[in-house]
């Protein structure tokens, strides 16, 4: 029997090899794109068994496949299988990807030949499977409808005659599943059946066709890799166009030279925290795979989204895997049913959109308004959320929030407006905290009168708020999702504030009906069991240590492992200093356990080379990293021998590169992604949008000019190092997108063909009876944890698995045991959350005389960080984003009328905002929306532009992070504190000179 099966299988293999060309030529005759592909190269390949007993020459010549008998010696590319069983597993249709990867990893299939040819040949074979599939849908007006997803939501992309005609928000049709309904207080609520996208999503077309696109590779005119490199001229010199071949040769040669001359660690790949959407192309996917195959010093990011939570709040309640923020399950329904009031504390979802959710939460908040739920807004700025919803504004001075919180808790204690039973049974350490509040430990009772001098909030208002809140059903909405992130957490007192938020909820019975974190931005009743990976779940990276790959993706989508053998790391906020001074100390962002943050790491690390080559992916640091002016000096430092910048637009840091590689946008390449699904550190992050929408991100048009997808750029570089086949696994981006599709739960619901045509799939909502329980309800009721989150880890429970929080006691700890153990000697991080005024605030008397104003530069409203700013995009012209003065678009600075009047500043005047770190020119926006003593603006200008006018140097792009301190919030952390920034402003004395020069330029 075995012998017969063996003979049959051998014949099957012979037949496949014989028939392969016919099948592929047939595909070419039906799919013009495939026929075009075949004309690109001639190649002679041999496919067969390693012992040579079966094998055939399969060649492509003049655009046609042919096969004939022959030996492996005749093949340029040789693909040999250990045995027939392996060959059939890899050649028959309906292949198991796990089998293929296993065979490759264990050398049961070996492909030899020139790397570039192997990549092209294997990608061509894979392409035959996708070439004939109809992508998108034809429209009555002659356009073709594709789909994509962005940081602001999913879009239809209409293309006509090879050009993008328009983009619109995705609207569902009646074949898409029914939408959920929430019943609350006798009414029914259901969100609109369309995507409520952010303004920056609608800007996509203007980004693709921006006149600032980099359309060809460039080299700095005074950079010669074989001669003078002139690092001191970076940012000053111009560029000359070069060919891709020359560019890639320079980069590949430099990579090899760095390794040979300096050794591992000399190359670093700084990247930004976000990316154009799509699981395959994301930096945690393709870039990580690319970088691992080269070896690099990792830039260890500070937990920028979680500042204050990770270093402080986490120790009171756990959730290290979520980087110290609450989860928010079930929040929408619970809030609508139960809450009497929502307190928005440093929470402006109309500007920050729950990160990726556009205005999906806006609809839900307007329901709350209809239901008569009251709102309070605590923010130095009467922000867009406060403007839309109404409610009492508490214009707190920046970075004094902890004082306000403590005074509220003081009132709760003295007037017994807190949940005494919950505190007694679910928490520890309250007596110590109470003693501090009452002034028993330091002689200063934290009364509303006490906080008034700090915050500027009248004592009576604090008492009124405390009484409206204490003992009532109140949702506390903090930060970007309402359950953490950003805002007041990003300053000297960030951890103090975040810790207070947890303690306030602990006093009110966190988890009881109507008592929770959230502002209707998170906690939608989705079917969360439907599996689709997020962008931080590993993608194609092959990396198990620094992505969420190990949790699900690596098993569901088997792919070849990659590892970075370089252990050296450099902390991101200190990267410029590390280059300039040669050393830096950092503390890790590591969600594994709360203790992971206490051990410092040093750069350089023994055994590794310091950094000499920067391969910058993107270019946003100048306006997103604190005290960003350091970057200018870092780029010019003599130790940096080579700088590559891979960017889409000529902006930001691109001007400091030696070689510039032009990348294309996500609309010019294939990808696949789910709306708002980051996965990884934000498990079930889709909880912010009203519908789970999974999109095929079609390649809508060809890349403009000579730009290429990041993936293709990485392939081209790695091919020169013989690593193309390892990187691509023979797959194109579309092949990878299909592998992601196959790895998810989609195939059970929609065919690949249908998905390619329609472009999106909406996951049906969860049955009402199976909706997730409310976050922390289990804890409040003393039960076992019943939430669908795989955290904390088994070893992190106090006594019994599933019972209690990730704290030593298993309870909410007012005085965290973990801080008692680890930071008792650090005056910046006391176990009892003392109020410590900001080290750059109104109490910093050595600075306040010269710099009396507090600046907060928060998340941009109309752009997603730098992505849509500048580059003459549609957003760039929004008058509430930049103002047009003398032909230049100036960043807006929002000023209170009193502060403007004393300085003679009028609306839309050009003002200089400055401190010891630099000077930036902005246009004034004067209104009562900002409290006196505070100037409010945004971070993330895409433009960095230093000019000299009348002997004065100023930055006119709007990079306010030039002015922010680079000091960590507290000693013993790698944290950023941009919202602790003292400045002065004045009417720009050189405004007229600037305007005259602009007029002259326009005339000439």
């Amino acid at each position: 029997m075995v012998a017969i099966r063996s003979r049959v299988n051998r014949q099957v293999l012979r037949t496949i090899l014989f028939a392969l060309p016919k099948v592929l030529n047939h595909t070419a005759s039906r799919a013009p794109a495939f026929a075009e592909r075949l004309k690109q190269h001639d190649v002679t390949a041999w496919i067969g068994l390693q012992d040579g007993s079966i094998g055939r020459i399969v060649e492509i010549r003049g655009g046609k496949f042919r096969s004939r008998p022959g030996t492996a010696a005749e093949g340029e590319v040789v693909m040999s299988f250990k045995d027939v069983a392996t060959a059939l597993k890899l050649l028959l249709p309906n292949r198991d990807q796990g089998e293929i990867i296993h065979a490759a990893k264990n050398f049961k299939v070996v492909t030899t030949g020139p790397d570039e040819l192997i990549v092209w040949f294997t990608q061509t074979l894979n392409m035959s499977e996708t070439a004939g599939v109809a992508m998108g849908m034809p429209m009555p007006d002659g356009s073709h409808r594709f789909t994509t997803c962005t940081n602001g939501g999913p879009l239809f992309v209409y293309v006509k005659d090879g050009r993008i005609l328009r983009v619109t928000p995705i609207e569902f049709d009646d074949t898409d599943p029914a939408t959920w309904v929430i019943e609350a207080r006798g009414r029914k609520f259901s969100p609109p059946r369309r995507a409520l996208v952010a303004p920056h999503a609608l800007t996509m077309k203007s980004l693709v066709y921006s006149d600032k696109r980099i359309l060809y590779p460039m080299k700095r005119v005074d950079f010669d890799p074989n001669g003078e490199r002139n690092p001191q001229n970076r940012g000053k010199s111009g560029y000359v166009r070069i060919s891709w071949d020359e560019a890639l040769d320079i980069v590949a040669t430099e990579i090899n030279r760095q390794k040979r001359v300096h050794g591992p660690g000399s190359i670093t790949f700084p990247m930004s925290s976000h990316h154009q959407w799509g699981n395959v192309g994301y930096y945690l996917s393709s870039l990580m795979r690319f970088a691992n195959l080269i070896g690099f010093t990792r830039v260890a990011a500070n937990p920028d989204s979680w500042e204050g939570w990770y270093w402080g709040a986490m120790h009171h309640f756990g959730n290290s895997m979520r980087v110290g923020v609450p989860a928010g399950y079930g929040g929408v329904e619970d809030c609508l049913k139960e809450a009497e009031m929502i307190v928005f504390w440093s929470c402006d979802p109309e500007s920050t959109n729950g990160a990726y959710a556009g205005f999906e939460g806006t609809t839900r908040r307007l329901w709350a308004k209809e239901l008569g739920i009251e709102f309070v807004h605590i923010d130095p700025h009467c922000n867009p959320t406060a403007q839309l919803l109404g409610g009492r504004w508490f214009p707190v001075r920046p970075q004094t929030d902890a004082a306000l919180a403590q005074a509220i808790m003081y009132v709760w204690v003295t007037e017994r407006l807190y949940d005494e039973e919950y505190v007694a049974t679910r928490t520890t350490g309250f007596d110590e905290w109470k003693a501090y509040l009452l002034g028993e430990t330091d002689g200063v009772p934290k009364t509303p009168e006490w906080q008034e001098a700090e915050t500027g909030i009248p004592a009576r208002d604090v008492r009124a708020l405390a009484r409206k809140w204490g003992g009532r059903k109140v949702y506390l909405a903090v930060g970007m999702t309402g359950t953490g992130f950003g805002g007041a957490g990003r300053g000297a007192t960030g951890a103090q504030w975040a810790r207070c938020m947890i303690m306030m909820m602990a006093m009110q019975g966190w988890g009881k009906p109507g008592v929770n974190f959230g502002g209707l931005q998170i906690g939608v009743p989705h079917d969360l069991h439907f599996y689709f990976p997020g962008y931080a779940d590993g993608g194609i990276s092959g990396d198990l240590a620094w992505t969420g790959n190990a949790v699900n993706n690596y098993q569901r989508m088997p792919h070849i492992l990659t590892m970075n053998p370089v252990k050296q790391m450099v902390p991101r906020q200190q990267l410029p200093d590390a280059i300039i001074t040669g050393h830096a100390t950092g503390y890790l962002w590591d969600g594994m356990a709360q203790e992971a943050q206490f051990a410092p790491f040093s750069y350089p690390m023994p055994g590794y080379s310091p950094i000499h080559m920067i391969y910058r992916y993107g270019g946003s640091s100048l306006s997103t990293v604190t005290r960003s002016g350091r970057w200018v000096d870092a780029y010019r430092h003599e130790s940096i021998e080579f700088v590559v910048n891979q960017s889409i637009w000529m902006e930001g840091e691109a001007q400091f590169a030696d070689v510039i590689l032009p990348a294309c946008t996500s609309l010019e390449r294939w990808d696949i992604g789910e709306w708002a699904n980051s996965g990884g550190y934000a498990h079930h992050g889709v909880n912010v949008v009203n519908h789970r929408v999974i999109t095929l991100q079609h390649k809508c048009i060809e890349p403009l000019g000579e730009s290429k997808s990041d993936y293709d750029i990485f392939t081209a570089i790695l091919t020169r190092l013989g690593l193309g086949a390892v990187f691509t696994e023979g797959c194109s981006e579309l092949d990878w997108a299909k592998r992601v599709f196959d790895s998810s739960d989609l195939p059970g619901e929609i065919s690949w063909k249908k998905f390619c045509r329609k472009g999106y799939y909406v996951v049906p909502p969860e049955k009402p009876e199976l909706r997730q329980p409310v976050d922390m309800r289990w804890f409040a009721e003393g039960r076992r944890k019943d939430l669908p989150e795989p955290l904390p880890m088994p070893s992190q429970y106090a006594e019994e698995f599933g019972m209690g929080l990730q704290t030593p006691s298993g309870k909410l700890e007012f005085v965290p045991e973990i801080l008692k153990r680890n930071t008792a000697d650090n005056p910046d991080r006391p176990p009892i959350n003392h109020y410590i005024p900001s080290w750059e605030g109104r109490r910093t008397t050595e600075l306040t005389e010269r710099y009396p104003l507090q600046m907060i530069a928060t998340h941009s409203r109309y752009s997603f960080h730098t992505s849509m700013d500048g580059k003459n995009s549609a957003v760039n012209q929004v008058e509430d984003h930049r103002a047009l003065v003398a032909g230049h678009r100036f960043w807006l600075l929002r000023i209170n009328p009193a502060d403007a009047a004393t300085r003679g500043i009028g609306h839309r005047d050009l003002v200089k905002i400055f401190n010891d770190r630099g000077a930036v020119i902005c246009a004034a926006d004067i209104s009562a929306l900002v409290t006196p003593g505070v100037v409010k603006s945004y971070e993330a200008s895409a433009e960095f532009q230093l000019i000299e006018v009348e002997g004065e140097t100023a930055e006119v792009g709007g990079c306010l992070n030039i002015l922010t301190p680079d000091r960590s919030q507290t000693r013993g952390t790698s944290s950023m504190a941009p919202n602790s920034c003292l400045v002065q402003i004045e009417k720009w004395q050189n405004a007229d000179a600037f305007k005259m020069a602009a007029r002259r330029r326009r005339k000439s």
Binding site: P169, L202, S206, Y209, R392, Q877
Partner: protein, 291 residues
Amino acid sequence: MSKWNLIINVGRCENCHNCVIADRDEHVGNDFPGYAAPAAAVGESPIRILRRVQGSAPMVETTYLPVMCNHCDDAPCMRYAGDAIRKRDDGIVIIDPEKAKGRKDILGSCPYRAIVWNEEQQVPQTWIFDAHLLDQGWQRPRCQQSCPTDVFEAVKLDDAAMELKAATEGLKVQKPELGTKPRIWYRGLERWETCFIGGSVSADIAGAVECLEGAEVTLSQAGKRLARATTNSFGDFGFDGLRGDGSTYRVEVSHAHGSVWRDCVLSESVYLGELRLARPGAADSRGGADA
């Protein structure tokens, strides 16, 4: 003959600019012969959002007002420009991209400043109600499709029905005194046109200053009582719908804990700040003009 009208819900606009950007997306790089020439990638937007900030901390009210071409039935631009501008049977006004070439002068004829100049194409342009899309079967313009808070509502009704709807629902147009007969209607325009007077009442209670809830506040003018309000838990009160015509109003609070009054001149909304009750007979029984 049913015609297009657009209703704008004042108070629902949060200034997100989706409408502005969607309009750019539609027209930049796209030529719609007979409707509109391509819009400039860099240039003024034919949809603008005006901002009105009233009051002062902590009582600030903000209103955003989207404005665009009103597609007037008696359009001054049409009277001025001759056949360069025409009105369709469905009410939409179109500036002919060919006939209006070079006619920068047309801009000044619009009392609403709704016409922008396209330097590249040398043609005046407006928001065209996405006529080209409506003609393809779209049920609403792009601004409505992209708005997250249902600010826009395109309705197609005959003129009599629209007049009735406007009367019933209190819809108003911009500058009705000009007689241009706009087809853009505003629901809740009072929020843009009227003013409020507000304040926060406090009192000394048991040695601490407290917000006073439940205090009765009256608004009067020249001795005549106009309105009454009760303070909320922050002691806040507000009288809105007032005309900012420069006249003087008086606010008076009386309560068991004391009383206080304040005069103010109203040209733009006023937040009187803290009104602390004084005990009856106290020397500093606070009254006087608003600062």
